[in-house]
Symmetry: C2
Subunit: 433 residues, 2 copies
């Protein structure tokens, strides 16, 4: 619709997997992109730590910039693509300076935005600069655009998702093979699906960064990574996966955000979800997000959440918006109108729970446990005690009706101290979908 | 971002389920929408056939316009929402006149755009007017925006979906209950899930309108509803659903579009899809769309495809874009650049097939059938012949390896003429996902 034909001039900073993917995509689909946006998208500069490193794409014909900070005041650059990563350091400095200079920024940096998002959004809007981050959440799935635009007519009741492909791959493998976490992790590392230091993925940090952004978009608030309750998947045991199956559930590392009477609740932890729920079908390295919209109902999005192709697709989608001249407030509402609701304490969470206990098989044990639960007003929904082994250890599994986290935590502390209970009780939250 | 505070002034034409849903949503979420767009979205006029009809929302406080054509030259109107429906008549006239007058148009009218879309897109762009239609495809699922913007960095290889909730509901009920099509349809009609005249839904017309739009968006071409191969679900029998289950499939009314060496292939017909494919999990009245993207991989979208809430959500999403001042070419590329590829004839389709035959149970029948298939170079993948009934009718079910529609059609015509084959052979295409 616009007749402008000058290229959109993009500087790409960071030439790892994602950066090289963006270079490759912009080259291969150059004609298509020009047709769709009405103007070429040109790579006007590239920058990375090591110019001579072996890369999946040739960059020697592209204008190399040694210090990316020099791009910020370069009038021949319209957009800085920050693909370096990290909460602080060069990523934060570059994005801040570029926005200060009024340059549009496209980034895949979930950590940066989860922590400094509100401040950067305010800066961007004060300078009239765009700050786009489709690639920061769920890779190629256009969920940022969906929440900020396509579903923006709705109040969102709850948003939840599988936001880390590595941990979902591990849980899927554990379920399919019956193996322990450590064995599956080691295999995933050998196959290159998990990092040598897997903490970001399996301890839930990466997914929590994305959850902070999803919650900000869904509820028009400041991203509050610091206020997320985070538990990873290291404690998920094959026996729990087997019991989940028997009870009609699958175990997923789920991020969940909703506004409750106590404020913003953000949780990232292993969850049991009903087997037939769409999110339970999201397997292997895939990501999935469900936005429960007031008027439109639940909307399900599923696709590849990481890797060069999907992430580059999202980065370039942001460039397409910029090339077309389209703009939306960073988190869907103007930065100065971003809500800052109270944070609901995890103790106020209400939900159902799965509990697994190792107990001595002798008369009266169950009565003791039931009495503790009753004292804390936790009511039992289902109970599995199978196999007898008089005087020896046997597992007891139970699920509760809806109760509060505070009540469950207190009950489990008491149960854990019972003489007949041999191991620390295992608890996994059940998410009603 | 923008400091414009004047309202976006919207005229709503058509006050059926969707029109009333839009009025309701704009009222209930007025504050939220103003916050998200930076300006109010105001209902400046409403129009419908019967002013005094009982409606789900009160419209007596809204400016009533008897002849919606009067809106077209009303300077107090920014956007005309056409929610009347129909390929011709007032819908086409109103949209055409509004665009001619340079007014933005938002419509939920899949039929109009599937047939006249290219012409209307050209008109809109020639007058600098927006023409938006998120609500025309898959109700509340923001798939138009996803294809036109969020996934626009990719070449799409194939797009397919379950695009009609009524027929998906009927197929789901048939599978779950084992009942015949006619019985389930009658029940759906009694429950209000199917129209008294169900043809649009069960014969695939409605879904084909949506497929034409999906294909246009995915491949940047003119919508070609006239070139879609359409078959409905009236011939799907409980026995085929049971065999599908046994073979690892579910039967879905699927719309599929792709660019082949023969040109644009668009098909809307019952398909067998692998049970564990995401699209197979889309059950009941839900809709689902999968876009197979070159770089991002397959992206799955699932949600409510009809009804006041979801459709209004999509209409208002378009209004939000307009209020924010964002614009994209109607079908993702400028109208004068829309491709018009040759149409691949259905006979050139290649795929696998499910065949069910009722034959006389006597020696040599299978050899006869196998010989015909061999003559047409159709190779058998699996065969089920179960139960004996010498001299009487028994079913034979077989699936083929990939072959051409032309070969399969010719083979089935010959098989149908064999003396030992008692009924017209039933064929259902298998979609490899």
């Amino acid at each position: 619709m616009t007749t402008v034909r000058e290229p959109l001039r993009v500087a790409i900073v960071g030439l790892g997997t994602v950066g090289c993917g963006v270079v490759d995509l912009l080259r291969r689909n150059a004609e298509l992109l020009a047709q769709r946006t009405g103007r070429p998208i040109a790579i006007a500069a590239v920058s990375a730590r090591d110019r001579y490193k072996a890369r999946s794409v040739a960059v020697d014909q592209l204008p190399w910039v040694e210090d990316p900070r020099a791009l910020v005041h370069d009038p021949s650059i319209d957009v800085v693509c920050e693909l370096v990563g990290g909460v602080e350091g060069i990523a934060r400095e570059l994005v801040t300076r570029a926005l200060q200079a009024g340059k549009a920024v496209v980034t895949a940096n979930k950590a940066l935005l989860a922590v400094h998002g509100a401040e950067l959004a305010a800066l961007a809007e004060s300078r009239g600069a765009a700050l786009a981050f489709e690639a920061a959440v769920a890779g190629g799935i256009p969920i940022v655009k969906a929440l900020r635009e396509g579903l923006a007519a709705n109040r969102v009741n709850r948003v939840y998702g599988i936001l880390n492909g590595t941990s979902n791959y591990i849980l899927t493998q554990m379920r399919e093979s019956g193996r322990e976490f450590a064995a599956v992790l080691a295999e995933a590392q050998a196959l290159g699906y998990a990092e040598a230091d897997p903490s970001f993925d399996v301890d839930g940090i990466d997914a929590a960064h994305k959850l902070a952004l999803l919650a900000a978009l869904a509820f028009g608030g400041r991203p509050r990574f610091d206020a997320i309750h985070i538990e990873g998947i290291r404690h998920v045991a094959p026996i729990d996966i087997a019991y989940a199956d028997e009870l009609g559930y699958r175990i997923k590392l789920l991020g969940v955000a909703r506004l409750t009477e106590h404020g913003l609740e953000q949780r990232l932890h292993p969850c049991m979800v009903p087997k037939d729920a769409p999110i339970a079908q999201v397997e292997g390295v895939l990501n999935g997000v469900v936005a429960e919209c007031g008027d439109a109902g639940p909307m399900v999005f599923e696709g590849r959440g990481a890797g060069a192709g999907p992430t580059a697709s999202a980065v370039v989608a942001d460039l397409i918006d910029l090339a077309r001249g389209n703009r939306v407030p960073v988190f869907g509402v103007p930065a100065d109108a971003l809500a800052d609701p109270p944070i609901a304490p995890m103790s106020a969470h209400r939900g159902s729970y799965y509990i697994r206990l190792m107990v001595v098989d002798r008369p009266g044990v169950l009565a003791e446990i039931a009495a503790v639960l009753r004292d804390h007003e936790v009511s039992i929904e289902a109970l599995i005690q199978r196999g007898r082994n008089p005087g020896q250890a046997v597992p007891i599994v139970l699920t509760s009706h809806e109760t509060s986290e505070a009540a469950m935590t207190a009950a489990l502390a008491r149960i854990g101290r019972l003489a007949s209970v041999l191991e620390t009780p295992r608890m996994i939250r059940i998410e009603r979908l």
